[in-house]
Amino acid sequence: MAIVYFPSLAEADTIEVTFTKPSGGEENLRLLVDSGFTGQSCFVLPENADDLAHAATTASQASGALQGTQRRVVVAARIDALSFANDVIAILADTSTLALPAATQGMVGLPFLRLFRRWGAEQSADGVWRFFLESDTP
C-alpha cells in the first residue's frame, strides 16, 4: 500500500493533482476536496484550463453551486507518489462562483476519491490536519 498526505488549509482539505497536457507539459493544481460533489465528473477546473483537455466529452447537467449544462473534457490526472495515472472527466466552469479558498484552483469530488482504496482527513499528534489518499500499489 502507498499513502500520500496533503496539508489541510485552516478552512478546508485539499489535494494536489498533476495534469499532463496534450502539448507535452504538465500543471500541478491544488484542489478543494468536496466529498459532497457527486456524479460522473471528477473535477471542476477553471474554464481557461482548456490546455489540459485531451478531448471533449459529453456535456452534463449540474445542480447546486454550479447549475445547468456544463462543458466537460477528458484530463490526464497523476499523483506520482501513488503511481496513480488515469484519464478522467473534468467540468470546465467559471470557478469564481464556487467561493474556493484562495490557494485552490478547482474542486475534486467523490468520483475521484473513490478511485483510491482509502481517503480521509486526520489530525497529527501536534494538532495539524492533513488529508490522505491511499492506494493498493506498493
Binding site: F37, V44, T57, S60, Q61, A62, G64, Q70
Partner: protein, 76 residues
C-alpha cells in the same frame, strides 16, 4: 452545426438508444467519435482516446464518452 455539436448529438443518441447505425453499444462501453462517426469502442477511456488521437492529434477535435444514462453532477 459544428463538429462538437454533431458529436454531442450522436453521443446522446447512442446513450439514449444503445445503438448507432445498427451497431449495439452497451452501458459502460467507452466510445470515440470524430466528425460524428464512431472511430473506436473499448472498455476504458484511455484506449478510445489513443485511437482518436492517432487519427487526429488535435485535442479540440473529436469526443470520447462512456455509454450510459446521463448523470447529474451535484456540486454542493
Amino acid at each position: 452545426m459544428n463538429e462538437q455539436e454533431l458529436n454531442q448529438q450522436v453521443a446522446e443518441q447512442i446513450c439514449d438508444a444503445g445503438q448507432w447505425n445498427g451497431q449495439p453499444f452497451h452501458a459502460g462501453k467507452c466510445v470515440a467519435l470524430l466528425d460524428g462517426k464512431v472511430v473506436a469502442a473499448a472498455d476504458d477511456i484511455a484506449s478510445v482516446l489513443k485511437v482518436l488521437r492517432s487519427l487526429d492529434a488535435n485535442p479540440n477535435r473529436g469526443m470520447v464518452f462512456e455509454v450510459g444514462r446521463p448523470v447529474t453532477d451535484v456540486i454542493r
